[in-house]
C-alpha cells in the first residue's frame, strides 16, 4: 500500500510541476516529432475527406454493404470508437468518485481522447444514412410533413445518447480544465498565449469561494457521467439487442458492450499514456506505478469481457433456439470464423501477460498488449455484426460481406480525424491536470511528514 499512497515522486515541487506542464504548450519541446506526427495524421484526415466526398457523390453503394449485411463497417467502427471513448470518462469520473487519486496524472488526456473518439463515432451513423443531408429528421421539429421522430426506436435513442455524451464530456473536460488554463495564463509570456489562456480561463483566480462551488459542480458532474457512460453504451447495445436477429437478440448485450467498451478504451489510454510520457519526458508524473495500475485495470476489464464471451455462448445454447445455435456455429466455424477466433486470441491471449508485475511496469509491453486488445475488440465488433447478419432466418437471403476500398479508407481516415485534433490539443492545453497533480503531491508530502 505504501507505493500507492506515494505514486508521485515526492522530490519534485509544485512550482516545478506547474512549469513543466504549462511549458508543453507554451514552449513546445518536440517540434520536429510533432510535425511528423501531424503530417501522418493530416494525410489520414485527407483520406477521410476524399472518402466522404466520394461517398456523398456516389452513395453508400461504394461500400461493401448490401442485403443482408447492411450494417457493417459504418456501425462496427461507430461502436468501436464510442467504446474507446468511454474509458476516458470512466478513468476520470469513476476514479474521482472512488478517491483513487492516481487518476490525476491520466484524466486530462483520457478525457481529451474521449472527446475526439466520440466525434469519430458520431460521424459514422450520419455517413451511413445514405442521404446525410436529412440528418435533421432525427430531431423533433414541426415538420410540414406532419410526422415526428419515432421515440420508441433505438435508432432515435442513439442520437440523443451520443449528443448528450459528447456535450457532457465536453462540459466535464472544460470544468476540470479552467484552473489549469488559469495556471497557463499566469505563466504565459507571449501576447498571443496570454490572450488565448486569458479568455479561455474565464478570469479564474483560485478564490476559496470559487473552489468550493467548483468542487461541488465537478464532483456532481462526475457522478452523472458514470451512469451516463453505462446508459450510452447500453443504448448502443440495444441497437442490436432490440432487433430479432439471431446473435443479437440477447439480454447479456448491455453489460457485455459496456465492459468491452471500457476494455478497449483502457487499452487506448495505456497507449496514449506510454506515448506521451516518453514523448515529453513525463516519467515523474506518469510513473511505472501508473502503468502498473492501468495494466491491472486492463486485465480486470478484459476478464470481465471474457465472461461476456462465455455467457454469450451459454445464452445461445440455453435458448435452444435453432437459429441462435446456427449463428453460434457460424461464428465458430463459418466463413467469418477468423473474426471470432481473432477476437478471442487478440483480446485474451496477450492479456494474460499482465498477471506479471514486470510486464505491467514495462511501457512497450503494455503498449503491445494494448494494441492487441484494440485489434481484438475491432474484430469482435466485426464478428458481432457480420456473423449475425450474413445468415439469418431465410436461406434464400444468405450472402457475404467483403469490405471495399472505401470501407477501409473511411475507417483509416477516422484515425486521422482522431489524431489531428488530439495533436492540436497537445499544443494548446496542459495534457496532465496541473492542479490535481499538485494537490496529490501536497497530500503525499503531508503524509510523509506526519507519518
Amino acid at each position: 500500500m505504501s507505493e500507492q499512497s506515494d505514486i508521485l515522486p515526492t522530490r519534485q515541487s509544485m512550482g516545478g510541476i506547474a512549469d513543466q506542464l504549462t511549458g508543453i504548450p507554451l514552449h513546445f519541446p518536440e517540434e520536429r516529432r510533432w510535425v511528423i506526427a501531424m503530417a501522418v495524421a493530416s494525410a489520414l484526415l485527407l483520406l477521410l475527406m476524399v472518402s466522404v466526398v466520394e461517398l456523398f457523390t456516389r452513395g453508400v453503394g461504394i461500400w461493401g454493404i448490401n442485403i443482408p449485411v447492411n450494417w457493417a463497417f459504418a456501425i462496427h467502427n461507430y461502436v468501436w470508437w464510442l467504446g474507446i471513448g468511454h474509458a476516458g470518462t470512466l478513468i476520470s469520473a469513476l476514479l474521482l468518485l472512488t478517491g483513487s487519486e492516481w487518476r490525476n496524472s491520466l484524466n486530462r488526456f483520457a478525457e481529451t481522447m474521449t472527446l475526439f473518439a466520440v466525434v469519430c463515432a458520431g460521424i459514422y451513423p450520419i455517413l451511413h444514412l445514405g442521404r446525410p443531408w436529412y440528418v435533421y429528421w432525427m430531431f423533433p421539429y414541426p415538420a410540414t410533413m406532419g410526422v415526428w421522430p419515432q421515440f420508441r426506436s433505438p435508432l432515435e435513442w442513439d442520437i440523443w445518447a451520443v449528443l448528450t455524451y459528447l456535450t457532457v464530456s465536453l462540459a466535464f473536460w472544460y470544468t476540470g480544465l479552467i484552473p489549469d488554463l488559469a495556471a497557463a495564463r499566469d505563466r504565459a509570456t507571449r501576447r498571443g498565449w496570454q490572450v488565448f489562456f486569458g479568455i479561455t480561463a474565464l478570469g479564474w483566480r483560485g478564490s476559496a469561494r470559487h473552489w468550493q462551488r467548483w468542487q461541488q459542480a465537478y464532483r456532481l458532474t462526475a457522478g452523472l457521467a458514470v451512469p451516463l457512460v453505462v446508459s450510452v453504451h447500453s443504448e448502443v447495445s440495444l441497437l442490436f439487442a432490440v432487433g430479432q436477429i439471431p446473435g443479437w437478440h440477447s439480454t447479456i448485450f448491455p453489460p457485455y458492450f459496456v465492459l468491452g467498451a471500457a476494455f478497449s478504451g483502457f487499452a487506448v489510454v495505456s497507449i496514449i499514456a506510454v506515448a506521451l510520457r516518453s514523448w515529453f519526458g513525463l516519467g515523474n508524473l506518469v510513473t511505472d506505478d501508473h502503468l502498473d495500475l492501468l495494466g491491472k485495470v486492463l486485465l480486470a476489464s478484459g476478464l470481465m469481457t471474457g465472461y461476456g464471451y462465455v455467457f454469450e455462448v451459454f445464452d445461445a445454447v440455453y435458448s435452444g433456439e435453432a437459429h441462435e445455435i446456427q449463428t453460434l456455429a457460424d461464428r465458430f466455424t463459418g466463413a467469418y470464423a477468423w473474426t471470432y477466433w481473432g477476437a478471442v486470441i487478440f483480446n485474451f491471449i496477450p492479456l494474460q501477460a499482465l498477471w506479471w508485475r514486470a510486464v505491467r511496469r514495462t511501457g512497450w509491453m503494455l503498449v503491445l498488449i494494448s494494441v492487441a486488445v484494440v485489434v481484438g475488440m475491432w474484430l469482435e465488433r466485426y464478428m458481432i455484426l457480420v456473423t449475425s447478419l450474413y445468415r439469418d432466418f431465410l436461406v434464400s437471403s444468405w450472402s457475404h460481406f467483403t469490405p471495399s476500398f472505401w470501407d477501409w479508407s473511411t475507417y483509416l481516415g477516422t484515425i486521422g480525424l482522431f489524431l489531428v485534433p488530439f495533436l492540436i490539443a497537445i499544443r494548446l492545453v496542459p495534457m496532465i491536470s496541473i492542479f490535481e497533480s499538485k494537490e496529490l503531491l501536497h497530500e503525499e508530502k503531508e503524509e510523509q511528514q506526519h507519518g
Binding site: 512549469d19 420508441r152 483560485g206 468550493q212 450510452v232
Partner: protein, 176 residues
C-alpha cells in the same frame, strides 16, 4: 485614503501556513476574508465560515427540467402522430426512459456548469487581485489570504502589521 482599496493580500508558502493565518485572522475579528490557492485546500471553507454552496440544487433543478422536457416531448409527439407499430402501446414508459435519462443528465450537467460560473461571477477577465505583484504565483505554488477593504475592522497600516505577524512571506495592499 487617496485611492480606493480592494484589500490586503498576504502570501504563504504552504496550505498549512494559510490555514493557521486564516484562523488567526478570524480570531482577531476579521470577517470579510477570502483566500486564493492553486488547488482546493481542505478545511479552508470551514475556517472561513462560507455558507455551503447550492450547486446540488441547481443540478437538481436541471435534472427535473431535463426529465420534464424529455417526457413532454415524447408524449406529445406520440399523441400528435400516433403510429401503430404491431399493436404496441403508444405511450410505453419503458421505451421513453432512454431519452428521458439522457436529457436529465444533459440538462443537469449543463445547469451545474453554468450555475457554478454564474454564482462565481465568471467570466470576469479583470479583477483587482490580478494587479498584485506576486499574485501570478497563486496559480503555481503560493497560497494567498485576502482581507477585504470592506471589512468593518479594516485599517491599512494595522492590517499589514497583523498579516506580517502571521508568518506571511510578503504582504501588500491591493488597489481596487
Amino acid at each position: 485614503m487617496a485611492k480606493e482599496l480592494y484589500g490586503a493580500l498576504a502570501e504563504f508558502k504552504t496550505p498549512e501556513d494559510l490555514l493557521v493565518a486564516t484562523r488567526k485572522a478570524r480570531q482577531a475579528g476579521y470577517r470579510d476574508l477570502d483566500a486564493f490557492t492553486p488547488f482546493p485546500v481542505e478545511g479552508l471553507d470551514r475556517i472561513l465560515r462560507f455558507p455551503r454552496p447550492t450547486i446540488p440544487f441547481v443540478g437538481l433543478g436541471g435534472a427535473i427540467a431535463g426529465a420534464g422536457t424529455a417526457l413532454a416531448m415524447q408524449f406529445f409527439t406520440n399523441y400528435d402522430d400516433p403510429l401503430n407499430v404491431g399493436g404496441r402501446p403508444i405511450y410505453p414508459i419503458s421505451a421513453f426512459m432512454v431519452v428521458t435519462f439522457e436529457l436529465t443528465i444533459l440538462f443537469s450537467a449543463l445547469a451545474m456548469l453554468v450555475g457554478m460560473l454564474w454564482q462565481n461571477g465568471l467570466p470576469r477577465l479583470s479583477y483587482p487581485v490580478f494587479d498584485a505583484g506576486r499574485f501570478h504565483r497563486a496559480s503555481k505554488d503560493r497560497f494567498f489570504l485576502c482581507v477585504s477593504a470592506h471589512d468593518a475592522k479594516f485599517e491599512a497600516g494595522e492590517i499589514l502589521a497583523f498579516l506580517r505577524g502571521t508568518g506571511a512571506l510578503s504582504v501588500e495592499l491591493v488597489p481596487g
